[in-house]
């Protein structure tokens, strides 16, 4: 089958493979009843896709970011340049375009990846680039005296980085990284456009049946808001804890 036809087939199957719960929703429902009936499918989309997508991409992105940040601090331009190009390319292009390249673009090179892993790849690469800038800045923010103190007790550059610099840089980078995390939760809604049935795709599917766009999309917005609100409480708690150790 032509790759594009195959894709279309995947898309159609996904679209009409509506969950049992969606059959409880019909066009003649309205108001509160529709709101209630839509809640479960959306939350299910959130738990099954939005949250795992966020968590996996964030962790993979952080690993990539640490690697990139360390490469960018290297004295060798052969090591530095790929990292610089990667960060520049990701920061200079829209996330949606990155998603489309992975999901709709790669099949023409005979690489076909399912929607969910495609989203993981695109989001991880995206987080990796932005977070590497945060980590790099936090490494640079640690005073030169800390490196030198580490050297004078005999440490090599790698040991100094691992034992002395990174633990301090981590504390500096946690507040901006938690902002990245919260942005990522919201950005995962773009995965709906590559057919991942996450929270917002569920909302679109329901709205397509009921035509009650305002109600359904407001409902989706509230759900995102609740997730981000809870995360910001966690963020504040972590920052309070960190303050205890970073006083200088």
């Amino acid at each position: 089958m032509e790759p594009s036809l195959k894709l279309l087939k995947i898309g159609l199957v996904k679209m009409f493979h509506l969950n049992d719960m969606l059959f409880a929703i019909t066009a003649d429902q309205g108001g509160w009843e529709l709101f209630k009936n839509s809640l479960l499918p959306m939350i299910k989309g959130g738990i099954k896709y939005t949250i795992p997508l966020t968590l996996i991409s964030f962790v993979a992105g952080l690993i990539l970011a640490l690697l990139t940040a360390i490469m960018r601090l290297s004295k060798s331009s052969i090591v530095r340049t790929p990292a610089i190009v990667y960060v520049s390319a990701i920061r200079g292009t829209p996330l949606l375009v990155q998603l489309f390249i992975v999901f709709y673009g790669l099949p023409s090179l005979n690489i076909t990846i399912d929607p969910f892993p495609s989203a993981i790849i695109a989001f991880s690469l995206n987080v990796g680039a932005y977070a590497s800038e945060i980590i790099r800045a936090s490494i640079i923010s640690i005073s030169k005296g800390q490196w030198e103190a580490a050297y004078t007790i005999g440490m090599t550059q790698n040991t100094a980085l691992r034992r002395i610099i990174l633990p301090q840089a981590t504390r500096v980078s946690i507040p901006p990284l938690s902002n990245t995390f919260i942005s990522l939760v919201k950005d995962t809604s773009l995965a709906s456009l590559i057919l991942v049935t996450e929270l917002f795709r569920r909302a679109q599917e329901i709205a397509a049946v009921t035509y009650d766009f305002m109600l359904i999309y407001i409902e989706a917005a509230i759900l995102y808001w609740i997730i981000c609100f809870l995360l910001s409480i966690v963020q504040q708690a972590i920052e309070k804890r960190l303050e205890r150790y970073t006083a200088t």
């Binding site: 050297y151 007790i153 005999g154 034992r163």
Partner: protein
């Protein structure tokens, strides 16, 4: 003799900071370095600790290690040089995420891979020596400047260096905290540690030093025992400098 330095020179870009420095460091003796700000004292200490790479010069140690800086020395040689000395910084540079005790044990455990229980015992005795055994589980930000600097001294002693380097160890301290740090250094002198100390404390230098160097403009201007250099300096520049710090205003 522990170390002999010959023809040491160092420039930063166009600025010649050290010009043909010759020094001999005797085992078990205290050498103090004085001189106006910008005369190259810190740079000299940093060369001894391989934090700066000299442009020229030869270091000869009593164990046969010889480093000629005419060409860039290898990473291993820089590490060998660095591991001979411990450094105490003007701004302490303690590791803020580690307790006083962990600051002291970090070098012996992580770098020297020594037995943890032994190092724990060593670190506690070093902190006792600097009068901070009861504060060993506190973090640097919970300590006063004088206490932090004493932890800094214990951290440098813990790697058991042959040579201790002090770069204005009391310059960042409030006047009432200077004494406690100087007392610790005097105790080390009594234990015959080999030390190079950059300081502006004239009275302390008189008491603790076996030899004093006066530097100006990247040169050693005057060099001798403290009762000569500090009490009866020959050079006009030394006289003027001492005049200024003994009678400020």
């Amino acid at each position: 003799m522990l170390l002999s330095i010959k023809g040491l020179a160092k420039s930063f870009n166009e600025l010649e900071v050290l010009k043909d420095i010759e020094v001999e460091i005797e085992k078990g003796k205290v050498l103090s370095i004085m001189g106006p700000s910008g005369s190259g004292k810190t740079t000299l200490l940093r060369c001894l600790n391989a934090l700066e790479q000299p442009d020229r010069g030869i270091f000869t140690f009593d164990d046969g290690l010889t480093l000629n800086f005419e060409k860039k020395i290898s990473k291993q040689d820089a590490l060998r040089l660095r591991r001979k000395s411990g450094m105490v910084f003007q701004s302490y540079n303690l590791f803020p995420h580690k307790t006083a005790l962990e600051n002291v044990t970090e070098g012996p455990i992580i770098v020297q891979k020594r037995n943890k229980a032994d190092v724990q015992e060593l670190a506690e005795s070093l902190l006792e020596k600097v009068g901070l055994k009861d504060k060993m589980n506190l973090y640097p930000h919970q300590l006063s400047g004088g206490q932090q600097q004493r932890v800094g001294i214990a951290r440098a002693l813990a790697i058991e260096p042959e040579l201790m380097l002090f770069d204005e160890p009391t310059s960042a301290l409030d006047p009432e905290l200077i004494g406690e740090v100087l007392t610790v250094i005097k105790d080390l002198a009594k234990e015959n540690w080999t030390m190079v100390i950059v300081t502006h404390e004239v009275q302390f230098a008189e008491q603790v030093s076996d030899e004093v160097i006066f530097m100006d403009g990247g040169y050693i201007v005057e060099h001798g025992p403290p009762d000569k250099v500090l009490k009866a300096p020959r050079e006009q520049r030394t006289q003027q400098f001492l005049q200024r710090i003994l009678n400020p205003s």
